[in-house]
Structures are given as structure tokens and as C-alpha cells.
Symmetry: C2
Subunit: 302 residues, 2 copies
């Protein structure tokens, strides 16, 4: 057994899913949880996201050997400072945030006397809040652990074993590389999706009603991503600025290249790109990271 | 009954689905089909995409009262010229192409003595070829008819009734407006998806293996669209250049605005956009144009 008493701070999609996953896959581990929103705590009690919902963060962490912060990236520092005084000396502190360099620094400063090992389960849906969680969220997904310099290898391994227990495959890398990888696989796709949905909503010569009616031509896929939690995503872009700007500029260079191909009527350049990209899709499906059925196996709406 | 004998030229995803849909929903209508690829014709016979698969386009259209061209946009002109000599004088010619101004001009020139009324069913999947078709593809989807100036209203209505028979909701608009609407709801989303998948594949500091492993963070949604048929999409961008460039430039302006917000750490601008875009998603789901379940109802991979 890797840990006996897990505290989960923040009971939204990720925190709730961890609670449910522990109950299902690691039934000998007890969980306590806290959320700053009393309505979320109430709902978490009703649907049993964790073994015990506490009205104070301090009560949730007081006896924990693993504390997982599942709050927006921008709230990590304040949350950590709020529990610093009552954390058991040997408790391991981790999180689930989508950017790791900033979090590592903030948590290290807030908890200078504790072991902090950040982690990022690469899993989620466009839904948020306590009702969005489910136990299988992490199955067949990767969890990236980013041990800070000098982290105890035994603690890293215990944390890895915990995530493997919830069904994830664990990789470790440094926080800087993590932030670059996630910028391209997650942050830029979200930025692009939010932006094109905004562009389409603001047109004068195409009505919003038309955009919605004819969305099956491709646009609707972007709206799923653009329905993700605004607070979480604002904080990601505020905290992974450099890697996001670097990847965004590479994308903009490539898009300018395609714009010129369209302007010049250069079909060969288009055909080359459109053929290469199919191979990436095939690899993702072969690795079990997406549903091979057409349209992601969307329900037939007939 | 709107038509008795329908000829389908091109037996890929769209043409094959029309054949299957007619058989299921309009069983009194007969279908003949042709594809320029003998392997596709052979496969179409094996799986019964149409009532009769002909080895010459001329034989498919000789007795038809409706001919639907389901070939890539760039092949429309040559296909139309190839059947011009044998088309019955009163046959209606239509198509399923994704851009309408260019097709209207090309078909009008190729068939000056026939009635041509272009149409575009806004439906599809990332799969292509004869095995990709299915009868329900057009159910609860829109079909946009773009009658050229002077088109006979009775023929427009007969074509509309045919598409309604296959389960679609029909709208009519002029070809220029169609091309603008589809540029934003379909063509730009495809261009962006192809480009970001290309960008991610070519990075040196992030491996392709990492891109694939961590694609569940958002990237994998783009790879579905970027797996679409390369020939079809090359032709769309070659034939809807002006509207695509106009919409692309609006998107680039908005993206530059978001880039500046990230650079400046302007969380308010981000939060405003990320909140507005959720409403568009809700509307699409309310209109039955997407699956409300998380992750499009993707199969649980556990």
C-alpha cells in the first residue's frame, strides 16, 4: 500500500474523480476532502465523492500521508499556505495542475519544510464541478510526475504507485519539459478552440444561428474544448506563458505558410500536409488514446 | 415521389451514404452508381451501396431524372463533361460539394443545356471510401441548396423534398453566402486542425511519441479532423480561396489579440472569452447537433 490516508483539496472534476477512483481501485485507502465552496461540499457529501467531506481544509489534511491539491493553478499558493501549519511533517504534497514550473516554485515557497512532488494526470473532460467526476477517468491515461531537484526517489515511486493504482501509466520528466509538451498537446489546442469559437460568434455577415446549425462540418469539435472551465484555463495561460508563446509562434509560422499556399493555389503543399497528418491519427488510435469509430462514436442522433 | 431514378457518380463516403439512405428511406426510388476507381466499383457491388453499379458513368446516368455528383470539387468539371452527351434533357444535376460558387460556375459551363442546382449536405465523418458510408448520415443534419439565378422553383422544391426524404433539414441560400458560412464552420476548423497536427509532428524538442501519448489533453480532437480525405480538402481550399482567406484573417486577428493577452498576463480578457464560448456549445447541444455526454460519448477505454 502506497498511502493510507489521502486528503483531496478541491472537489471538482479532478478531485472528485480521484476520490471515486480511490474508492473503487484502492478500497483500503481512506479519503477526506475539502472544497472552498460550501455548495460543492454539500454536493460532494450527497454523491459520496470522498470518505469524509470536511468543512475546513485543516481537518481534511490533519492526518493525511498524501495531500493532493486539485484547485485551479492560480489558487495553489494560497491553498498551500492555508494548510501549511497543520500538515503532518511527513505528509507528501502533490497536485494535478496542468502547468508545472510555476506550481513547483509556488508550492516550494509555501511549504518549505515539506516534501512537494507535483504531478499531472493528462485526463479530463469539458465538464467541470463535483458532478463531473468518475472513477475511470485516469484509466489508460498518462500521469506525468515532475520531481523537483533533490526529490526523494522513494517518495516519487510511492506517488507513481498511487497513480498506477488508479489506472494511469506514469512517466516522469522535468517540469520545464512537461510545460513544453503540454503547451503543444493541450494548451495551444485549447487556445485555438476558444479563439475560433469566439471569432465565429462575433461575425456580422454570418449569424450565430448559422454557425450553430452548420457546426457538424467540423466546428462543433472545437466547441467541446471551448466549453472547458474558464478559471482553470485562464490560470494555465497565466502560468505557462513562455512555453505557450513559443509553441503558438511555431503554429502561427506554419499557419502563415498554409495561408500562402491557399493564396497561391499551391495544392501540392496542402496535399502533402493533409496526407502526413493522417499518420498521427492512426498512431493515437493504435495507442488506445482515442476512439477509432467515426465521429468519436458519437451517439447516432437519429 | 420526387424522383424515380437517381444516378450517383462517385461512391465514397457521401455517394455511398446517399445510395444506402435511398434504399432505406425512399425504397421506391432506384439508384445506379459509378466510380472512376474499379476497386471502389467492385467494393460497392459487394456491399450493395446502390441498386446497380455501372462500369461507365454514361450507363449510370442514361435514364436518370436526378444525377448527383459526389466527386472531389476539383473533379466536378471533368465528370460533368464526361456525361454531358448522354444526360437526359430533363434530368436535374446536383452535387454534394463543400464549396458552391466555383462548382456552380463549373457545372453551368459544362452543362449549359441542363438544369443544375448545387447542394451541400453538411454531414460527414473523418473516414472516406466506399466502406465509410451509412444510411443515417444525413438524419438530423442540414442540407444547404444554393439555387443559381433563374433556377426553376419547382425543381428546387423537388430536390429539397429528396433531401428531406433522406432525413435532412433543408435550407436554401445563395452560393456566396454558403461559402462564407462554411468557411467559418468547416473549412477554417479543418485548416487549423491540419496545421496544428503538422506543427506538433515536426517539433524537435517534443517527440512525436510524446505528442501521441499526451494527446488526451485536447490535441486528439484535432487529429480526428486532420484525418479527413486529403484530396477533398485540397480541392475545397483551392475552390473557396476568398472566403477562407477572409475568415482566416479574422481568426488571426483574434488570435493575435489573445496572444497579447497571454504576453501581458491579462487574465480578464482570457476569462471573458473562455466564458462566452461555453454558450455556443450549449446552443449546439440544444439544437441536437452534438452529443452532450463528456468527450462526445467516446467509448470508455477501460
Amino acid at each position: 500500500m502506497t498511502f493510507q490516508r489521502v486528503a483531496i483539496i478541491g472537489l471538482g472534476l479532478l478531485g472528485g474523480s480521484i476520490g471515486l477512483a480511490v474508492a473503487r481501485y484502492l478500497p483500503d485507502v481512506s479519503t477526506r476532502g475539502f472544497d472552498i465552496d460550501p455548495d460543492v461540499r454539500q454536493r460532494a457529501r450527497e454523491i459520496g465523492l470522498v470518505g469524509e467531506v470536511c468543512d475546513e481544509a485543516a481537518d481534511a489534511v490533519r492526518e493525511a500521508d498524501l495531500v493532493i491539491l486539485c484547485v485551479p493553478v492560480g489558487a495553489m499558493g494560497e491553498t498551500a499556505r492555508g494548510i501549511a501549519g497543520v500538515l503532518p511533517a511527513d505528509a507528501l504534497i502533490s497536485d494535478v495542475g496542468s502547468s508545472k514550473q510555476g506550481i513547483t516554485r509556488v508550492l516550494g515557497e509555501a511549504l518549505p519544510n515539506h516534501a512537494v512532488i507535483p504531478a499531472h494526470p493528462v485526463a479530463g473532460t469539458e465538464h467541470s464541478g463535483p458532478d463531473a467526476g468518475f472513477a475511470a477517468l485516469f484509466r489508460h491515461r498518462w500521469c506525468i510526475i515532475t520531481p523537483p531537484a533533490g526529490a526523494d526517489p522513494d517518495r516519487v515511486e510511492r506517488l507513481a504507485a498511487f497513480w498506477r493504482g488508479l489506472g494511469a501509466t506514469v512517466e516522469t520528466m522535468d517540469a520545464e519539459h512537461h510545460d513544453l509538451v503540454l503547451a503543444v498537446t493541450s494548451h495551444i489546442p485549447h487556445l485555438i478552440a476558444y479563439t475560433i469559437v469566439g471569432t465565429a460568434s462575433d461575425l456580422e455577415d454570418v449569424t450565430r444561428s448559422e454557425v450553430i446549425k452548420y457546426s457538424a462540418g467540423g466546428f462543433r469539435d472545437f466547441t467541446r474544448i471551448a466549453a472547458s472551465d474558464p478559471t482553470m484555463w485562464r490560470d494555465v495561460f497565466l502560468n505557462n506563458r513562455e512555453a505557450v508563446l513559443e509553441m503558438l509562434d511555431r503554429f502561427l509560422t506554419d499557419l502563415a505558410h498554409m495561408r500562402e499556399a491557399i493564396r497561391a493555389g499551391d495544392g501540392e503543399t496542402m496535399f502533402d500536409l493533409f496526407t502526413r497528418t493522417r499518420a498521427v491519427r492512426r498512431s493515437i488510435i493504435e495507442l488506445g488514446q482515442d476512439d477509432a469509430r467515426p465521429d468519436f462514436g458519437r451517439a447516432s442522433l437519429s
